[in-house]
């Protein structure tokens, strides 16, 4: 297995192992997860220095042009290392966090989902095929649903998980539609081929599907990265365990949307629609996130909104066609926000609360966390010498020189003002967090509780080591910027191969420095006058909240679904059968019409008709009449069985043993089922039919019978057939290609195995549903 495949597969193997052994391993499953993460990390590290991108390509669904294609360029390698690296830290941290009082099986499930999530994220990072990317994308949505809903006893956890799943999965489906449009327009699903081939990209731009594809793909990216107006799912998802919030909602999953933006930038960014959509969304997300972050008193909500803000910032950079900024900003954010989330977890672990109003003066109790938090907040606020400062300088520099905004001074000024204001709010919420938690003195009632109930939880190394690695990363990368090493690194890793961001610890130009100073000054001012700012924020609360709009939408959809089901599925078997039969009739006639077949084409003659067929036909007609005329259900059922066996005899006459065998067995088994359910059927209301109902029954069955008659006769006519004779084709291929002489069975298990998989899956689901429904009914009654 190549290194690239290992990157993706290792976590899934880990997840599988944990799923098998989780009950026994309990919290030590973390070691399996960490082992998988380390494997992926080690496999991903060499990819970064490779001369040319590593490639893996397996045929998957060749008939649809879908391949299992992986490709790791520098940006993908960066993302993989970020995901696997933080995966290691989160695994260790989870072990230290130690969810007390839960069963081993449940903790095992947690690590299994976490490991699978990591594998899916790595899959997104290195997928080259768009369909493959979509699948990994949805796997992250599903596993994150499990992880957010870890404490499923809590109402809020269930709601948060469902909201996150609905929003991101909906976006994912939109994205799939966009991918399909791209694939149709360019003729391939391989992203690298589209990017490398000018002709394909031109075909996409010229295609009428260009703008819909752009908007659909953006919908996927925006929902995943919690962009306005879809941002509300992220704070709602903060009910997850802190390790999960760190991993999913700060370091990795929410960045998948940004990753997607980077990947489609070469396809879409040249269009005018791109900045028109992406810039306002990014700007709105940035400002609302920062604004809301300062309001929150819950540590994790505060951090969640500040994450929303940063995601908006990077989106803005993509919108302004400045993708070279991405690695710099993402790396900076991952280091400080990961630190802060983990520190928030330590604080909650130690005190049992994460409400700022109940916290204070923890610097003596949690000295290491205090130091880490200080580093994190300084980086978040953009103060030297931390990496956050360097990143913000570079961002301001690129904003000031933006080729896109340059010609429009008003707009340019507006964007810069918003970015500066948002950054000031972020600094202010950082200060609020740092000072609120660690400085000052604890509120009286907390002081008491902190020293009794939670004295046992101090700072264990397992808890503070992971954030320490990240915080030192933020510091180290900042210091390294003095030498230009950081600059080379982020430029080499960026999604833009020609990235040349000037990254330096020492400001080279006056403009960015002035903006930085303004940011710091404004941020401090906002923090100092926080009482007044909060009062002002309260007054602006009248605006409709995206969350409320979403809830109203969901309620509307549910009500519609209920009304629709009540109307359409009214429980009357007669109505169901009418609908099914009429639909089949319509489809049959449509097929004949579309083929342009006329009755004259029917290749029907009586020369092959033997006396035995005539007798059988007569018997079938008689037994069918018996079905209709029977006075009891049992009689009807038996007559129906008789007609089924007579049909089987027809197969015997025309020498088709395969269908004969199947028909006989199916008749037998369905008779058993009919007899089993007969008991529960309502009394036979044969005479109770109104004339209208009788007439309707006659019309429906007459139409259906006529349609089937015409269809069966005509579909054997030459005009209906393909030019190629499929039957002969399969017969010729069955022994050579599949090693079987029974072509019917070979078709089922080999040539059309995908269809069969679908069918048997339905069968299993039906069985399980019947089992569940009947058991539940018995349990009730």
């Amino acid at each position: 297995m190549s290194a690239l495949t290992t990157v993706v597969v290792a976590p899934f193997i880990g997840a599988f192992l944990i799923a098998l052994l989780g009950r026994t391993l309990g919290r030590w499953s973390a070691l399996v997860m960490v082992g998988a993460a380390v494997t992926s990390l080690c496999a991903a590290l060499p990819l970064i220095g490779a001369e040319s991108p590593a490639l893996v390509s397996h045929a998957w669904i060749p008939s649809l042009g879908v391949t299992f294609g992986l490709r790791a360029d520098a940006f993908a390698a960066f993302f993989s290392i970020l995901i696997a690296g933080i995966g290691v830290l989160v695994g260790v941290y989870s072990l230290g966090y130690g969810t007390v009082g839960l069963g081993n099986a449940r903790i095992g499930r947690y690590y299994a989902a976490l490991s699978a999530f990591m594998g899916a994220m790595l899959g997104i990072a290195v997928a080259d095929d768009l369909i493959l990317l979509f699948i990994f994308w949805e796997v992250t949505s599903l596993t994150s649903y499990l992880l957010i809903g870890f404490w499923y006893e809590r109402e809020a956890a269930r709601e948060g998980a469902v909201t996150a799943l609905l929003v991101t999965a909906m976006g994912g489906l939109a994205m799939l539609a966009g991918f399909v449009l791209i694939g149709l327009a360019t003729g391939t699903f391989l992203l690298s081929e589209i990017v490398a081939d000018d002709a394909r990209r031109a075909a996409l731009v010229a295609s009428p599907a260009f703008v819909p594809a752009l908007l659909l793909v953006l919908a996927g990216a925006f929902t995943k990265s919690a962009q306005f107006p879809f941002h509300f799912w992220l704070p709602a998802a903060m009910v997850a365990p802190t390790a999960i919030s760190t991993y999913l909602h700060s370091a990795t999953m929410v960045k998948a949307g940004l990753f997607l933006l980077a990947r489609v930038t070469p396809l879409f960014a040249a269009s005018i629609v791109w900045p028109l959509v992406v810039v306002p969304v990014g700007l709105a997300t940035l400002f609302l996130g920062a604004w809301q972050s300062f309001r929150e008193t819950d540590l994790k909500a505060l951090l969640a909104y500040s994450t929303v803000a940063t995601l908006g910032l990077v989106t803005l950079a993509y919108g302004l066609r400045a993708p070279e900024q991405d690695v710099l900003q993402i790396l900076s954010h991952a280091t400080y926000k990961g630190t802060l989330f983990m520190v928030a977890g330590i604080v909650e672990h130690a005190t049992g609360t994460r409400d700022l109003r109940e916290l204070g003066g923890l610097r003596r109790m949690l000295p290491i966390s205090f130091a880490l938090c200080l580093l994190g907040v300084l980086s978040m606020g953009g103060l030297p010498p931390l990496f956050g400062f360097v990143a913000k300088e570079a961002l301001y520099g690129s904003l000031l020189d933006s080729a896109m905004l340059g010609p429009q001074p008003l707009l340019h000024g507006f964007v810069i003002t918003v970015v500066v204001a948002a950054n000031a709010f972020l600094l202010a919420s950082g200060l609020k967090l740092l000072i609120g938690v660690f400085l000052g003195s604890a509120p009286a009632e907390r002081q008491h509780a902190a020293h009794t109930a939670h004295e046992a939880h101090g700072e264990s190394p397992l808890l503070w080591l992971p954030p320490a690695v990240l915080a030192l990363g933020a510091l180290g990368l900042g210091l390294l910027s003095a030498t230009g090493t950081s600059g080379e690194l982020v430029n080499a890793l960026s999604s833009d191969p020609n990235a040349e961001v000037a990254v330096s610890l020492f400001p080279a130009h006056l403009g960015p420095l002035v903006l930085s100073l303004v940011t710091i000054g404004l941020g401090t001012l906002i923090y100092r006058s926080r009482v007044r700012v909060e009062a002002m924020q309260q007054r602006l609360d009248r605006l409709p909240d995206a969350r409320a709009v979403w809830d109203a939408l969901l309620a509307r959809v549910t009500r519609f679904a209920e009304a629709y089901s009540a109307w359409w599925q009214d429980g009357s078997l007669r109505w169901y059968f009418s609908a099914m039969l009429l639909f089949t009739t319509a489809v049959s006639f449509f097929a004949l019409e579309a083929r342009g077949v006329s009755i004259a084409d029917a290749g029907i003659g009586f020369q092959n008709l033997g006396w035995e067929s005539v007798c059988l036909a007569a018997l079938i007609i008689m037994s069918t009449i018996a079905v209709v005329r029977s006075d009891t259900r049992l009689g009807a059922a038996l007559a129906l069985t008789a007609s089924g066996f007579l049909v089987a005899l027809v197969y015997a006459v025309y020498r088709s043993p395969d269908i004969l065998l199947t028909q006989i067995l199916i008749e037998t088994v369905s008779t058993i089922v009919i007899l089993l359910v007969l008991y529960f059927m309502p009394t036979f209301r044969k005479d109770g039919l109104s004339p209208g109902q009788s007439a309707w029954n006659a019309v429906v069955s007459g139409l259906f019978g006529f349609a089937m008659f015409v269809f069966v006769i005509l579909c054997t006519s030459p005009g209906f057939r393909e030019t190629r004779n499929l039957g002969q084709d399969y017969l010729a291929r069955s022994l050579g290609e599949a090693g079987g002489r029974n072509a019917v069975n070979v078709i089922i298990v080999d040539f059309r195995a995908m269809d069969t998989i679908g069918e048997v899956t339905v069968l299993v689901v039906v069985g399980l549903c019947a089992y569940g429904l009947l058991r539940a009914r018995r349990a009730e009654g």
């Binding site: 397996h58 045929a59 998957w60 669904i61 060749p62 299992f68 043993p657 395969d658 004969l660 065998l661 199947t662 067995l665 199916i666 037998t668 088994v669 058993i672 089922v673 089993l676 359910v677 008991y679 529960f680 599949a738 090693g739 079987g740 002489r741 029974n742 019917v744 069975n745 070979v746 089922i748 298990v749 080999d750 195995a753 995908m754 069969t756 998989i757 048997v760 899956t761 069968l763 299993v764 039906v766 069985g767 399980l768 019947a770 089992y771 009947l774 058991r775 009914r777 018995r778 009654g781």
Partner: protein, 141 residues
């Protein structure tokens, strides 16, 4: 259910024979009429015969739905193995072995897929029989 000695005696002989027949039909499916689906239905018919003769209790002790889930996993696995070996999903191969007693054995990997279908059909039908039968028992009591 009323006990019928005749039915029970016949069933004792017929059920093993039917199951053997179903295995035979399954085994020959690749070359002659038969295959997993039909063989599964036949085995379920044998199961139904058993239920009629001996009642539900013993058959209901086994969770038949597990059989269908195992079958589904088997079918999916048979399609996934070629994928891991570098081929496409569901791209079946023909395996040839030389075994000491049986001589040259010709085993298409699709057989495992077919085995999955067999188990699914058997498991689902038996689930239906047992559950519907239990329902009836509930009704009577």
């Amino acid at each position: 259910m009323r006990e019928s000695p005749v039915l029970r005696t016949v069933t004792r002989i017929a059920v093993p024979l039917t199951v053997l027949l179903s295995l035979r039909i399954f085994e020959q499916g690749h070359d002659m009429p038969g295959g997993g689906f039909v063989a599964g239905v036949l085995a379920a018919a044998a199961g139904a015969m058993y239920l009629l003769a001996f009642g539900l209790e013993r058959a209901a002790r086994f969770s038949w739905w597990r059989l269908s889930v195992v079958g589904l996993l088997c079918a999916i696995a048979s399609g996934t193995v070629p994928l891991l070996a570098g081929s496409t999903f569901m791209d079946h191969v023909i395996l040839e072995f030389d075994l000491p007693l049986l001589g040259n054995v010709h085993l298409p990997s699709a057989t495992f897929f077919d085995l999955g279908v067999y188990l699914i059909v058997l498991g689902t039908l038996m689930t239906l029989f047992v559950e519907l039968g239990l329902e009836e028992g509930q009704w009577n009591s």
